[in-house]
Amino acid sequence: MSLDLYFDYIIFPILSASVALTFIRLLKGPGIVDRVVALDLIITIGIALITVYSIRSEEPVFLDIAMIFALIAFLGTIAFAFYLDKRERK
């Protein structure tokens, strides 16, 4: 079994399943914080997916995207935290 097939039939499905599971949490909630955390995890898994995709298509260029993800994804989380905190204080 070559590495390509391994990625295609093992790694990708696992990651996809993970995104799907995480998304279920996002759908279910119950609180907004749960959704935010689910979103954060989805982005993290997204980074993983991009990495694997980059390996699979032998294009290191995609890692640049992962880099941006890694650097600024948490800004959304911070924004939500900021918002919830503000709302609480009101």
Binding site: V61, I65, L71, L75, A81
Partner: protein
């Protein structure tokens, strides 16, 4: 909302993000990146800082109003667009310095144009976000 951790983190995230944005700007012609993304990342750097330290403090770092970046950026972009006319070329024609510079590579009007884009994007995003946050909190 005060968080020591965030404050401390933003202190080193700000330069990292800014450096990263310049990196994106300069390499845009060769790899994914460019003025837009560069500008967006740079503005995110300041937004992050403002989350941690409050917008007023971020404005102090910036020294100039972000609004003033807009004419600066537009001016640079417009001039690099217009420069070729002085050489009898149609507007927007690329003019290049013959020898590549180290690190940056080929330097031409395209790069200045991208720089203009970068500045405008920073100016715009910060103007929008800071105006809102300064006037509603």
């Amino acid at each position: 909302m005060k968080s020591t951790i965030l404050q401390a983190a933003s202190r080193y995230l700000l330069p990292i993000l800014l450096l990263f944005s310049i990196f994106l700007l300069l390499r845009g012609h060769y790899y994914p990146g460019g003025g837009f993304v560069g500008g967006l990342v740079a503005s995110i750097a300041f937004v992050l800082h403002s989350f941690a330290h409050g917008t007023d403090n971020t404005m102090k770092i910036l020294r100039y109003k972000p609004l003033s970046l807009i004419p600066a950026g537009l001016g640079i972009a417009a001039l690099s667009m217009f420069l070729p006319v002085l050489f009898g070329q149609p507007v927007m024609t690329g003019l290049w310095i013959n020898q590549p510079l180290p690190v940056i590579g080929m330097v031409g009007t395209a790069l200045f144009f991208d720089l203009g884009v970068y500045l405008v994007v920073v100016g715009v995003v910060l103007t929008i976000l800071f105006t809102i946050s300064l006037n509603t909190h």
